[in-house]
Structure formats: C-alpha cells, structure tokens
Point group: C2
C-alpha cells in the first residue's frame, strides 16, 4: 500500500517542459501522485522507497520547481500539502476534526467555476474552494478516525 506506483508518465511530462529527468524528480512526483495532500516530509518518506538517499531539502526543491512548472499544486497550510491534480478545477473538503482532505470535482467544468461580485476591476483566473465540515467517520460515535495522511487543521470560519 505504501509502494509508490506510477499514475502518470512523469518523465514525459518533464521532457515536454524541457526539464531534465532525474530519479529524484520522478520519485517525488510519483510520491505526490500516490499520496495526495501529503506533506513534504511524508512525500520524502515515500520518495525514499524509490531513491533511498534523497534528502528532504531536495524534495522541497523539486516540489517548488514542480509547483512553478504547474505539475503539482501546493495547498497553503502549515505544513504545506501537495497534489498532482492540477488544471481540472477540483476543490477540497476538509474535516475540521480529523483533518482528512477529500477531493471533489467541480460541478462546473471550466475555471473559473464561480464568479465574485463585480466592480473590483480584477480579472479572475480561477476559484479555489475549500469546504469545511465533519466527515462521516468523525460523525460516527465510535470511530474518531486518526487519519495517518493528515492532521487536524482547526478551521474557524462559519
């Protein structure tokens, strides 16, 4: 279950961008693919299964580059989380209790899928939507679900 499998052909993606294909980059990208919404450290752990001597610092560098190139999306949180689903305008559903993050497809297909009130003079490119709530497992009386992939975020907006 922890074995990282290729869901995407990362070497081709890198080559298409004119970037070099390194074991480290492929390992990080596959790790993010296999562990959506994972932190840099978790990605490091997963990437080490493919490249045992990759350092955490290199993971950070690869993640920053890949984010700049549009291969991964960085979710602002502390610590930051990463995912490989980019450009498909999906949104996030975070459980305020256990911190689990679920992907939900946008009901509208193309970004921006939502429009703010006009009059601000801004050209809107996209809409990031995060729903906060309580997941099914946390609502169940007996299973507090300590999800290993995420920690509580503690949202306060209502």
């Amino acid at each position: 279950m922890t074995t990282t499998q290729p869901f995407a052909d990362w070497p081709s993606h890198l080559r298409a961008l004119g970037k070099r294909v390194t074991r480290q980059r492929v390992a990080v990208l596959q790790a993010v693919d296999a562990h959506p919404h994972a932190t840099a450290e978790r990605i490091h752990t997963a990437a080490r299964e493919l490249v045992p001597d990759i350092t955490l610092q290199s993971v950070y560098i690869v993640l920053a580059d890949a984010t700049a190139w549009g291969l991964v999306r960085k979710l602002d949180d502390v610590p930051a989380r990463y995912e490989t689903r980019v450009g498909d305008n999906h949104h996030h559903l975070i459980c305020v209790q256990c911190g689990v993050i679920l992907d939900v497809d946008c009901v509208v297909g193309t970004p921006p899928c939502l429009h703010p009130p006009t009059g601000h003079g801004m050209e809107i490119l996209s809409a990031d939507i995060t729903f906060r709530g309580v997941c099914a497992d946390c609502r169940a009386p007996e299973s507090p679900r300590p999800d290993p992939e995420s920690q509580p975020t503690g949202g306060t907006h209502g």
Copy 2:
C-alpha cells in the same frame, strides 16, 4: 494613515467572552482591524503605535487566542494573515502578481453559501472561497504596484 483607529469596540467584545481587557489585546485587535490581511509582523508594528513595548511573541499569542475565540480569522498562508471580519461569509480575491488581497461579499448571505457534490458523507459547515486573478493596477502597463500590505502568493491553480 498608519494610525490605528478603533473600528470595533474590542473591550466589549472581550468582556462579552469573559476575557480580560488588556492594552495588548486591544492594540492587536485594533491593528488587525486597521490592517486587514496583515502578517503577524505587520500587526506587531501597528500594535506598537498603541503599546510600544509589546513583543512579537505576545502578538502571536493574542492572535491565536482571538482566532480561537472567533474574534479574528486566520488565513492559511506563509506567513499567516489575519482579519477581523468573521462570520459574515465573505471571500477573498488575491492578485497573483502583487499579492494584494481584496474582500468580496458572498453573493449568498448565509454559510455554507455553496454546496459540493454529494455522496462523500460529510456535513458541510462552511465554504472558503479564494479567487485568483490579476488586479486592475497590475493590468495597467505602467504601474507594477508594489503593495506594502501583501506579497505575491504565486497561485498556480487553473
């Protein structure tokens, strides 16, 4: 323009919560009020105009407390940003060039103002919506607008 003015009666808000009214708390809350979306350090600078010897650590503590009490809302970003508009379900518009953050009222009044696709079993409490785009000033050819209140966030979602 940097003089912090009271937009809200923070002593009353604190007393209503059974919390003590200290010069530091009032100064921080007024600073956040006067500088929406400011970082802890910027809030510290503003708060020092009212309480010259307040430390940055105390600012962090007051911000964390106030967030837990629902007086301020913390925007997850690095560094974190804070605002006093809570519970009115407004959303944010971030310029990907200059990083300026604008508040936009929600077109629907009550949270959650938006509903995700069903079937995930999650009880939705709220929806945080962040629009990304290019503000009017950054679209103008000659004014790159180095806004002092915010730094670029570098959003990549589309």
